[in-house]
Symmetry: C2
Subunit: 211 residues, 2 copies
């Protein structure tokens, strides 16, 4: 598995398929054709078939795709059945929101710790987890299996913390800071640049409505 290189464009569509299939499942729909997915999702049928065939022939000629099995196949590709252990670094607005958000568990992402520097926050409970001091970060990572660090820290701290956890063996960074991370270690980074997204929205609005 994961042998031939698959483009990010394809990967990024997978969660959308997954979500839509989940919805079809809820509606009790058993089978679906690429053509039907196409009209409902606004993606060409051709692209859907191309995307799915990157990973194997999930369909059946003359029939289409079985919703349930396609859903679980895509889930497998995305690794939903595997468990990742994550810590949140930074218990500010975003860190707290993510710590409280329960739905990541469902997708196999377990939050096992929250860290901050602020003495007023350390020791307080967020979603039944006591916020730990950043001083104990290294120790914690060495003593627990930590796959992912969720970075919810200010711009200036991001690079050094990223570096620090990468050195300790954390393999994935989910980065909410506006910093573009460049890390010399073997770490996977996924950025969520909220303000970039907001600026793109602003652009689109100006462009469309010629304010």
């Amino acid at each position: 598995m994961a042998s031939k290189k698959i483009s990010m464009a394809v990967i990024k569509r997978l969660p959308r398929y997954h979500r839509f299939l989940d919805y079809l499942l809820e509606l009790g729909i058993k089978r679906v054709s690429s053509k039907e997915l196409s009209t409902r999702m606004g993606i060409t049928a051709s692209q859907i078939r191309q995307d799915l065939n990157c990973f194997g022939g999930f369909g059946q000629q003359g029939y289409g795709y079985n919703v349930e099995s396609l859903f679980s196949e895509i889930g497998n590709i995305l690794g939903i059945n595997k468990t990742f252990y994550a810590i949140i670094i930074g218990a500010g607005n975003m860190g707290r929101a993510l710590a409280n958000y329960g739905n990541f568990d469902k997708r196999g992402f377990n939050i096992i710790g929250v860290f901050d520097v602020n003495p007023e926050v350390i020791g307080k409970k967020i979603n039944n987890m006591e916020v730990m001091s950043l001083n104990n970060l290294d120790e914690f990572i060495l003593q627990n299996k930590v796959d992912i660090a969720v970075l919810c820290i200010p711009y200036k701290e991001t690079a050094s913390i990223a570096d620090r956890v990468a050195k300790l063996g954390v393999k994935g960074l989910w980065n909410f800071s506006p910093m573009d991370l460049k890390i010399p270690y073997d770490v996977v980074v996924e950025n969520v640049h909220l303000s970039d997204s907001l600026m793109v929205l602003g652009y689109k609005m100006n462009d469309r409505f010629e304010r």
Copy 2:
């Protein structure tokens, strides 16, 4: 302005340029060449010049780009100098985090109201704003200039609320629900699908480390 169609690929890189130029400004750097930007940002010099020339010749042959003026030009393109008025719908984890996050103001996004359905939340203050009842949403939008609605509501409510505010004249939706919005009105949508992003991170990790 905004005459020839510019691809989304280009637009999405603009906030990154903007951020990096801001950083150079802080360092007190006055001029920069596409080549230097290239090595520092990990984008080809060719692409940088192509991107910038979509909007006009901001550079000078033999010299490069003036950091300050390029920064402000990109800011203008992104509409940072214009003010948008936004409301947050849904005062759950994400809604609260966004309401408390002060940095959007800096980019011209003013949050002027927060709404929720939960009686326990209505009336409470978030970042000096009293949470209003969703019952008063229509009235509020009609009586105030609301450019953007930030949707932080559960999956099931999203479509109907999006429809409702669009009908009332809201022109932009910043959507944090996993719902893929299809709206029959003239509205611009920017989605932030956090769990999609997390799933992509999971995929990358499985792929890279062959768990």
